[in-house]
Symmetry: C2
Subunit: 183 residues, 2 copies
């Protein structure tokens, strides 16, 4: 798929068909994601592929438990219906104080690759700056050592919904020249 | 360009030809970047296109001044040689406590779009968690209000170097099944 087609066509997908996603397809997504840039080329990523129903249920529970009030409309129960959930984590030492950036750069690539493979996903965070219990719960659940930081949770499945096109903010509203606010 | 070709072919580029980059090309990159996912579809981004030599010099100065010891080999002087530097910032309220994630998701898309347009760039951060003076200096320089958070600095130019292919960590080292460390 062409890059611009992948970028424009991707949507956040929270409803998936029951069909499973082969390991070989997931490997091909991770294969691309690990080409993302990383601080000092540290490639600090790990990709934990969760298919076990109980683990998916517990991930959803963690997300629901620590969901900020304003996001309560977006419950995480749909994670259970994903064929797989990829949890992206980052080795603290290898990410040179840029754990979040490194994790998200890989996640962004993986999401585009998923769409290009006919899969749906949606970006979810695996931590909260103001609530260390979130990352700690994910870490405990998946057996991550203390120096491994869970960053992103990406459910994967063949889409069973077609979200409407997004209304985009106009370009001239978001591009400034030389200084902020100057059009 | 195909997505996988863009992902695999992109490199961090720090040396650029003198050739300028038309506004229309930069608009086309931002046009794609704003299709990145954002928290609750807040689309909190602004893209400030810096071409002014003195502003580029000051950005390089800020990056050099606050560079951590371990990254001193990567001086930021090369920013001055970029045809343009795009500073991605995020509106705090519209990013729902996910300013960094939102900024980086747009940056990742913009970097792929740049490569697909024959341009080079390299990911740089516009803040440090442990040193608020960095974001404050960028904000002052570009006239950003206090509720706007500078996240990424992306120099842009036609590449004048061909970095060698990266040695990638093997897939089997980075993919785990069900739990961290389980292959």
């Amino acid at each position: 798929m062409q890059l611009d087609e992948a970028v424009r066509g991707r949507r956040s997908i929270r409803k998936y068909r029951a069909e499973s996603v082969p390991d070989s397809v997931i490997d091909s997504l991770v294969d691309l994601a690990r080409h993302a840039p990383s601080s000092m080329n540290g490639q600090p990523w790990s990709f934990t592929v969760v298919r076990d129903a109980e683990l998916k249920r517990r991930l959803a529970e963690i997300k629901n438990q620590y969901c900020p009030a304003e996001k309560r409309d977006f419950r995480a129960d749909f994670l259970i219906g994903a064929a797989a959930v990829i949890v992206i984590s980052v080795d603290r030492a290898a990410s040179h104080d840029r754990a979040v950036e490194n994790g998200v750069l890989a996640a962004a690539t993986l999401m585009l690759a998923a769409h290009a493979s006919g899969l749906g996903t949606v970006y979810m965070s695996a931590y909260r700056d103001d609530e260390p219990a979130v990352a700690e719960a994910v870490r405990q659940l998946l057996g991550m050592p203390g120096d491994v930081l869970p960053i992103s949770i990406l459910p994967l499945g063949y889409p069973d919904e077609v979200p409407p096109a997004k209304a985009m903010r106009p370009l001239r509203e978001v591009v400034f020249h030389e200084r902020y606010g100057v059009r």
